[in-house]
Amino acid sequence: MKDVELKMLERAKALLEGGEVARVIGWKKGDFCYDVSPASFETVEELDGFVYNWFCGANLSKYLIEMSKKEGKTAVFLKPCDTYSFNQLVKEHRIKRENVYVIAVECLGKLDAEKIKAKGISLITDVEVVDKDVKVTSAYGVETLYKPDVVLTKCETCQKTHQVKDEEIILHERPERDVDRFAEVAKLEAMTEEERFAFWRSQLSKCIRCNACRNVCPACSCVKCVFDNPASGIAAKANDSDFEESMFHIIRAFHVAGRCTDCGECSRVCPQNIPLHLLNRKFIKDIDNFYGEYQAGETAEGKTPLTSYTEGDIEAKDVFNGEAK
């Protein structure tokens, strides 16, 4: 990972020095190795804080909505999953493609600091990954963990590849793998209505409505949103009924249906660990079943499933009869 970081830093410096771009979007060091945050670097000196490590899970494409409006080009480092969101935002005319220089960077799956901490390891100072072994150095010594146990939930089933790039920095090839990202959705579908209701009620009642899922979601970037309006009476009030969280999450999932690229950021940022990606994946699974395979963000052109139709579409009542194509 260190070699990739150096290569990225080298390119970022060259681009800024050469004046080809006005700013570079990447990740910035925090106090610890695991609290990196997205950042914009405008000078070579600022790049001192640049970092690319096993905890750079954040999707940078949403920042380009604002950055691509600025003067001068913006260079951005995009992981495979981020490029789908990027394409989707270009398609929706939110990102000005001509103002962005995309550098595709490799990603072998990112680690979840919370999952490592849950293993009883605190004061993490460094992390090294060799194949499937994660060597975590902490104040209490070195421990080796099994990588699939501690990767971000969104990386567990990721099979994405770069969909857009102006150049690439890929030093290690990610091994091909065959995983079913709908396995958990199918498990829920196999339950009875009561069980499903109990599952979602227990999950969603944890919601504190911090709006982190909305704020981080690349698809959730409407110019006007009711949650940005303090006069709407929605923000900052106690819940009176369990119903409210369900309503919020149903509507949010529907709003991004057909546009969600399954980047998994919603689940990553949820402070209550609600598996929000399972809501979006249900829509993706249904769209695949009913209207043919569709992956949002694969291209920056074409219509989305909800803005198109065919005359022979499935009827709503046949949805439950297992008559889907």
Binding site: M247, I250, D286, L306, V319, F320
Partner: protein
């Protein structure tokens, strides 16, 4: 003191979204043909079935509806040519999703009723009201604040 033993019979509240050009006229025809359908079906007239935003359906449930039915022109017959094709996709996904969240699938329904199908309108409503009555009160997707005190 006398104990009240009489049990209140459950009558569901049904919200029916009907498009102006077909289903609403179909409801009209059902009425003028003296066909009966339950009085607890509350019809909301919309310009096109496509006008029904998924949040309308949710709002109806929130405000205490026990079932929501959406009626529009038959696919291909939309007054606005393509409106109901979009409705069909949208509602197929929404209903499937609500079921995934644990809402009983019989609480949601979509039927195509033309202006000439007064008899079908009455039959559809009778059938739907019966299904929802069997299911009982909607407790999963309702805001407790709108329920009357028990």
């Amino acid at each position: 003191m006398q104990e009240v033993t009489e049990k209140k019979e459950f009558t569901p509240t049904i919200v029916a979204f009907c498009c102006n050009w077909c289903s609403y006229a179909g409801a009209d025809l059902a009425g003028s043909s003296r066909l009966t359908y339950p009085a607890n079906v509350k019809i909301i007239r919309v310009p096109c079935s496509c006008r029904v935003n998924p949040s309308f359906v949710l709002k109806a449930f929130q405000q205490g509806a026990d079932g929501v039915i959406l009626c529009g022109c038959h696919p291909g017959d939309c007054h606005y040519v393509t409106g109901n094709y979009y409705t069909r996709r949208r509602m197929a996904l929404l209903y499937s999703f609500l079921n995934y969240m644990g809402i009983e699938k019989d609480r949601t329904c979509i039927e195509w009723v033309s202006a000439a199908e007064g008899a079908k309108f009455a039959a559809v409503m009778n059938d739907f009201v019966k299904k929802v009555t069997d299911l009982g009160e909607n407790k999963r997707l309702t805001d407790l604040r709108v329920k009357e005190g028990e």
